[in-house]
């Protein structure tokens, strides 16, 4: 059998031949190399058959010599389809524009939702997003990917502990956790202040309560500093003690610092590459050359193209190749010690001290150089608030109440 598709491609026509000698006419046609198929007889003097469009043009020559009437009944195949679609090209253009528009609009940011943020923080986030270009009505191709947005937001806005960024369809969802959660209303139940660290007291400031200790006193962990029971002896009223007790505390810190350190830095040279990812095939659009960098890191930014709610298997890839260099940092011995002390200080502050505390003094207990590393043991003397609230048990209060009644 012949290939139907080739016939479809070049077009085919249905021909009706009426008259005497139809068989002879067919013989003439086929002997001259015209292809004919689906020959059917309708009545005594009529037959219909199908033939190629090109052959139909040639047929005229033979038809003139025969005594048959020829009528074309049906035209089908690609040329006719094309002709008709050209006539109705408005529809096709419309359909194409429609699809293109949907594709385009599916890749536009249509909403930004921020959850869990105070109005002030939300405003800040929105401003920051505006700066980054994340706005309603922007194309997603030109926006950083979700991870980068997340990173940038957390870096730029101090009030944020964590931001969950999620792109659902055309809407960005931000789940925000703020550092400064609204403070719980202070519990004003009766309480004492006790020491949370072993310290020597240097100063105190008590708003409410009875101070039990004095300057230069050495206190141990859990020792009572300010009592919440005030009033005359035997008629004490439980109150919430409030105040600050500053004490000197000691911290021992050990640090190690290598004299030579190797690390990589970017030297600012970079190259942009753009490509389209079709399934697994990557088709470069811009930036065909391979980077000439000796050492480099590649950062890939993949934007998926959406169609309505679906992800198409097509993505836009924007990769940045950055050259990096190896740098060796060398310290002199004295310098190394200095930096090590700073490091130790930072460690102590980060791990043990709060914002109000300060370091008063430091003493190097031990220093040595082993295997190209500086080893230090430093003692820090810090001044910090050592007061910690401890509720007064109910029983004591009850007893006091009774005592008062009596």
């Amino acid at each position: 059998m012949k290939n139907q598709w080739i016939e479809f491609l070049f077009g085919r026509v249905t021909v009706r031949v009426a008259g005497k000698g139809t068989e002879r006419f067919i013989n003439i046609l086929i002997r001259n190399g015209l292809h004919i198929w689906d020959v059917k007889r309708h009545g005594t003097e009529t037959i219909t058959f199908k033939m190629r469009l090109q052959d139909a043009l040639k047929m005229r020559k033979y038809a003139r010599r025969s005594e048959c009437d020829i009528t074309f009944l049906q035209r089908s195949g690609a040329p006719f389809l094309l002709k008709r679609s050209l006539k109705n090209s408005g529809f096709i253009i419309g359909a194409a524009i429609f699809l293109f528009l949907i594709l385009l609009l599916s890749n536009v940011v249509w909403g930004i939702e921020i959850n869990g943020a105070k109005p002030a923080t939300e405003h800040q986030i929105r401003k920051e997003l505006d700066k980054m270009g994340v706005k309603v009505g922007k194309f997603q191709f030109f926006i950083d990917n979700v991870e980068t947005i997340q990173k940038k937001l957390t870096n730029q806005i101090g009030a944020l502990t964590w931001v969950g960024v999620e792109l659902k369809g055309t809407t960005y969802h931000f789940q925000v956790v703020e550092k400064n959660q609204p403070k719980a209303p202070e519990v004003l139940s009766p309480r004492n202040l006790i020491a949370k660290k072993e310290a020597t007291i240097v100063n105190y400031y008590v708003e409410k309560g009875k101070t039990v200790v004095d300057v230069h006193d050495h206190v141990k962990v859990g020792q009572l500093l300010v009592s919440g029971l005030i009033g005359k002896e035997g008629e004490e009223i439980p109150v919430a003690a409030k105040g600050e007790v500053w004490g000197e505390t000691w911290y021992r810190s050990q640090v190690e610092l290598p004299l030579k350190t190797k690390f990589y830095v970017f030297n600012g040279k970079e190259q942009q590459k753009h490509s389209i990812l079709l399934g697994k095939w990557e088709i470069p659009i811009w930036g065909f050359w391979t980077p000439k960098f000796k050492e480099f890191e590649t950062e890939e930014n993949i934007h998926k193209i959406h169609f309505l709610k679906w992800d198409l298997p097509i993505s836009m890839v924007n990769s940045t190749v950055r050259e990096r260099e190896e740098v060796v940092r060398t310290y002199g011995v004295q310098e190394a010690f200095k930096i090590a002390v700073e490091l130790a200080k930072k460690n102590v502050i980060k791990n043990h001290l709060d914002e109000e505390a300060s370091i008063k003094d430091e003493k190097i207990l031990h220093k040595s150089i082993v295997d190209g590393k500086v080893k230090l043991e430093v003692l820090f003397i810090a001044v910090e608030n050592i007061a910690k609230a401890q509720p007064i048990p109910k029983e004591t209060q009850m007893n006091d109440g009774k005592a008062k009644n009596n």
Binding site: M1, E23, I26, N27, I30, R31, W37, V39, K40
Partner: protein, 100 residues
């Protein structure tokens, strides 16, 4: 006379050399698939075609096919594929000249 001799030589060669007879002797080769298809090679032209009858010219004599609902699926100078319900395939020899 010469034609006859050529015919004899061909027949002899076909026999001796084990060649297919249709190739050597210009005979029609007919392939049928059940009753629904008939495929004829080496015909010499269409004589009659209706939906109940197909008459083909052969090199020697004619071939008459009878049946129902005939449609010529393909027709080429020497080949024809007929579709329909085939009841009979009859050879008509010119020499006997009886079937008119």
């Amino acid at each position: 006379m010469a034609k006859k001799w050529a015919g004899r030589v061909r027949q002899w060669m076909a026999k001796k050399m084990d060649l297919p007879q249709d190739v050597m002797m210009d005979l029609p080769r007919i392939t049928m698939i059940g009753q629904i298809h008939i495929y004829i090679e080496n015909h010499r032209g269409l004589l009659t075609f209706t939906d109940k009858e197909l008459r083909l010219l052969l090199k020697q004599g004619q071939l008459l096919i009878k049946g129902k609902a005939f449609v010529i699926k393909t027709i080429l100078p020497e080949e024809i594929l007929l579709e329909g319900k085939i009841d009979q395939v009859i050879y008509i020899n010119e020499n006997s000249g009886g079937t008119k």
